[in-house]
């Protein structure tokens, strides 16, 4: 523990010594506002300080970020998660409800306060009950005075893409996890947005080079993105610098980010369209009239025409697996801890469709898992106390962890790990089935924090357990978070206790009180006997296979009825015979 504690203190000490960090403070009054971003359907969205879209948070590496959240929604609790930030030493600021904090109920306030020591393109969003597609999401940009590419571009452009629903998530979720939707068909978005709008004009100047930071803030759809007449040079994925790599089209799953360099043409003769196109493979049934595309323009000359995008013959996106990190970090090759997660979709006894890791679907525990860690003393290393529906995995300090994820589902899934970036050491094509060990791994694997696993394929991820905390590993399709495709990684819980015991701020404890959420004990809130999980939240039971007692009784009765019936028929039918002989 002492080791990891000094690990934690060292960078802080360094940064105190050499930088003068600023504090960036935001006051967010979260409330419903009316908006109509696609011009097709006005609806209530979740805004901040009476406005929507939400502000892009821009900080410089090393800055302290303070976000004071006041929940004025009136009818929903909320939270904020800063996607991709490692939250080193500040696990309690990570944001997922019932994992590292209690929900912020209507009327309550909560302060996020952490330092950012990583450059790149991130985003923030609510991590509570599938809420962010209602609008509570925005990019989070961390500038880097030491960027290896800082001399290669003149200006920055931030382009968040997102699918868009005309209905609110609460209703959509109720219909999604319902007996009426036994196949688990995800609601299909109604339109596609860029910068929370459509037909976006981006002014650019001839001859200049731009760093375009793209974020997929969508709930569901992955995006194909291409710029007509311009080639992209990828230099960052999910906050990890890469060797500049050319691409004509990228594929960006929900929650992924790409920074690309785009060099403007030298003439201002024409404007060029760029397109974000939702991957419709993910959609169960494509409604008539759905336009999966959102168009914007690189505008060289406002007076010139903005041409409609050209039809393309096929989607041929860049394969991110071949990217090489700029720091050339070598593959983590001595694995200490292998975790195999087999994911599938299935129905439970309530008739609804759920998602499973190793046959367990995630259900939020009564006590936020972080608070269970902090209140369980030496027992914190025992997975049993974290409940039977949290897919908990306890990691030891500094071990090299390998996650083998086998996708036993015919859909594409973007998996995200909180608190870390991971090396992607293997990724199969579609229909490859479960992972089979192989040495054919890249020497300097790509790292990112959200990775696509292909239909019925697999992916192998590695990372070092050097960040004590409770970190979720989950599919970033918001529907699948709701249906339980979530695992809880409890990393070095004893070091976490050392970091955060008695360090949880008053506002965090206050929202627990306000929302009647217990803050100590095991997953069931039992503080006396940590192994007694009576009363914990559980998933509906499995569907019984074949005949149950009910079925056997019914079958016996039916058979009996038939035999008695036939006996009576026989009795009636024998009458003429009897009377004849008698």
């Amino acid at each position: 523990m002492a080791m990891s504690l000094s690990n934690f203190l060292l960078p802080i000490a360094l940064f105190l010594a050499f930088t003068s960090a600023a504090t960036v403070t935001h006051d967010f009054d979260v409330s419903w506002v009316q908006a109509n971003p696609d011009g097709a359907h006005p609806r209530p969205v979740i805004g901040v300080n009476g406005k929507w879209p939400l502000p892009v948070i821009v900080v410089t590496k090393g800055d302290r970020v303070v976000v004071n959240v006041k929940n004025s929604l009136g009818n929903q609790s909320t939270s904020l998660h800063f996607h991709g930030l490692y939250q080193y030493g500040s696990n309690h600021m990570d944001g997922p409800v019932q994992v590292t904090q209690c929900p912020i109920p209507p009327g309550s306030s909560f302060t996020y306060n952490f330092t950012v020591d990583q450059p790149g393109t991130y985003w923030y969003h609510s991590h509570n009950k599938g809420q962010y597609p209602d609008g509570i999401r925005a990019p989070f940009i961390v500038h880097d005075p030491d960027s290896p590419f800082k001399d290669l571009y003149d200006e920055e452009i931030v382009l968040p893409f997102s699918d868009w629903y005309h209905d609110e998530m609460s209703g959509l979720l109720a219909d999604f996890i319902s007996i009426k939707n036994p196949s688990g068909a995800e609601p299909v978005p109604n339109s596609n947005l860029v910068n929370e709008t459509q037909n976006l004009s981006v002014s650019i100047k001839a001859g200049k080079t731009y760093l375009v930071r793209m974020v997929n803030m969508g709930a569901f759809a992955a995006q194909y993105v291409w710029f007509e007449g311009h080639t992209m040079r990828i230099v960052e994925v999910d906050g990890v610098y890469t060797e500049p790599t050319e691409a004509d089209m990228i594929y960006m799953t929900a929650a992924q980010r790409y920074s690309v360099l785009i060099t403007a043409k030298n003439s201002t003769d024409a404007n060029f369209a760029f397109v974000g196109s939702m991957d419709q493979d993910l959609f169960d049934a494509i409604p008539k009239g759905l336009n999966p595309n959102v168009t914007g323009w690189l505008v060289y000359d406002e007076k010139k025409e903005k041409p409609a995008p050209k039809e393309i013959a096929a989607f041929e996106p860049f394969d991110d697996f071949i990217l090489v990190p700029e720091d050339k970090q070598g593959i983590l090759d001595s694995v200490d801890h292998t975790i195999t997660l087999n994911m599938k979709m299935d129905n439970l006894a309530d008739g609804a469709n759920y998602a499973f890791f190793n046959d367990v679907t995630y259900v939020r525990p009564k006590v936020p898992t972080l608070y269970t860690v902090l209140s369980s003393g030496d027992q914190a290393t025992n997975p049993a106390i974290y409940g039977s529906n949290t897919n908990q995995i306890v990691l030891k300090a500094n071990e090299t962890v390998e996650i083998i994820l086998n996708n036993d589902d015919p859909g594409k899934h973007p998996f995200h790990l909180h608190g870390h970036e991971f090396q992607v050491v293997s990724r199969s094509e579609e229909e490859a089935g479960a992972y089979v060990a192989s040495d054919a791994m890249p020497p300097t694997p790509m790292r990112r924090d959200t990775i696509l696993v292909r239909p019925n394929g697999n992916v192998v991820l590695r990372f070092k357990a050097s960040n004590p905390g409770v970190w979720l590993f989950h599919c970033h399709i918001e529907w699948h978070v709701a249906s339980g495709l979530v695992a809880t990684i409890i990393e070095d819980p004893l070091a976490l206790q050392a970091q955060l015991s008695n360090q949880i701020p008053a506002s965090h404890m206050q929202v627990c009180k306000d929302s009647n959420t217990p803050t100590a004990g095991n997953a069931a809130g039992n503080t006396k006997d940590l192994f007694n999980l009576a009363g914990e939240r559980k998933a509906p039971s499995a569907i019984p296979a074949g005949f149950t007692a009910k079925g056997i009784v019914a079958l016996v009765f039916s058979t009996l009825a038939a035999f008695v019936g036939m006996a009576v028929i026989g009795w009636y039918g024998m009458a003429p015979i009897k009377s004849k002989s008698g």
Binding site: I179, S183, I543, M566, A575, S579
Partner: protein, 362 residues
């Protein structure tokens, strides 16, 4: 199996053919008795030929009408019913079940049928002498002359068209390929039993045969009734769950778990490759996914059948319904109904038991 042999169709054909062959056999027997060896052999030959001509012509017309009617049924049905297939399958299953239920009891009283026709024919022929010449006297005279032709002709035609209508009603939910074999087998079996009756073979074993086939008939009808209810429920579920139902195949989601009594992910009736379960389905109404409705309806069906037969049996033995006052002594006199060979027409029978209505009207 389900695609090749439609069990309800078989039984309808069997039933109708049996009735026809009984009438023919009664006619032939009648000729044998009344026109004994002392009569002109040529006259007898001519009358026998008349009978067979009537049968043949009747069958021919039936086949023509039947083919046309069923063809039209099918064409119209496929277009009209495709959109709501489950509803129609359910409706037809229940109609078929009711038809079989009403017909089935009569099968157990086939011997009575024989007696009744004997009386009827006797009457028809007796009327020859007491003919009251009237306006349509010539027509009547013609009829009398060709009675031996007309009787079987009309009977065959009537039973045949009835069969066609029943088959049309029952069979719409079934594949066309399942018809021919079932029709042929049904006609063959009906003819055979008719022949056995004519030959006056062992009546007891014949009756046992009839009991067994009636039992099968009611098993099928119970299954159909339950399947009809099942179809309605499946239709409601498809409406609720939409696309997902088809996607789910026979797994979870293909049925409404709230109403499920048992579900096994195999043994699906009707699906290709599971032929055995198809037989199970058409004989006993087996479902791999039983619902509260389908189980209850199966048991209720049997309850009604049991009560019905008990009432019929009571009525036959006591001459009145339970809880009903004993009939007046005058009516009580003709309580010889169970004596099949007496040849007395059981008038009291008429209209009393719904299950026997058809037999009485015949």
């Amino acid at each position: 199996m389900v695609n090749v042999f439609a069990v309800p169709v078989f039984f309808i054909c069997f039933r109708e053919c049996l009735e026809t062959s009984i009438i023919v056999s009664v006619l032939l027997a009648f000729l044998k008795q009344t026109l004994g060896p002392e009569h002109d052999a040529s006259v007898r030959k001519r009358l026998v030929r008349q009978i067979w001509l009537g049968v043949g012509l009747g069958i021919f017309i039936c086949v023509v009408i039947g083919a046309g009617l069923i063809g039209a049924f099918y064409k119209a049905g496929k277009e009209a019913f495709d959109s709501a297939e489950l509803i129609w399958e359910g409706v037809f299953a229940i109609i078929a079940s009711l038809i079989i239920t009403l017909m089935g009891a009569a099968l157990l009283r086939v011997n009575k049928l024989q007696d009744k026709w004997r009386v009827k024919i006797a009457k028809a022929l007796e009327n020859n002498d007491t003919s009251r010449l009237s306006m349509n006297g010539r027509f009547k005279k013609w009829c009398e002359k060709y009675a031996m032709f007309l009787l079987p002709f009309v009977t065959v035609l009537r039973e045949g068209i009835e069969a066609v209508l029943f088959i049309g009603g029952v069979g719409l939910g079934m594949p066309a390929t399942s018809f021919p074999l079932a029709v042929i087998c049904g006609l063959g079996a009906g003819g055979l039993v008719g022949f056995l009756i004519y030959k006056g073979g062992n009546r007891t074993s014949l009756q046992i045969f009839l009991i067994i086939s009636t039992c099968f008939l009611y098993l099928i009808a119970a299954g159909l009734f339950s399947k009809g209810v099942w179809d309605f429920e499946a239709n409601a579920w498809t409406k609720t769950a939409g696309e997902g139902v088809t996607e789910a195949g026979s797994g979870p989601g293909s049925y409404d778990i709230r109403k499920s009594v048992w579900h096994v992910n195999c043994c699906t009736p009707g699906s290709k490759g599971d032929g055995g379960w198809g037989i199970f389905n058409s004989l006993f109404g087996w479902q791999n996914s039983a619902t509260i409705g389908s189980v209850l309806s199966y048991n209720l069906y049997w309850l009604v059948v049991i009560v019905g037969f008990l009432l019929l049996g009571f009525k036959e033995r006591k001459g009145h319904w339970p809880l009903q006052k004993k009939p007046a002594p005058a009516a009580g006199d003709i309580r010889s109904e169970s004596d099949g060979s007496s040849g007395v027409v059981e008038q009291k029978h008429e209209g009393a038991a719904t299950l026997n209505v058809r037999e009485v009207n015949a």
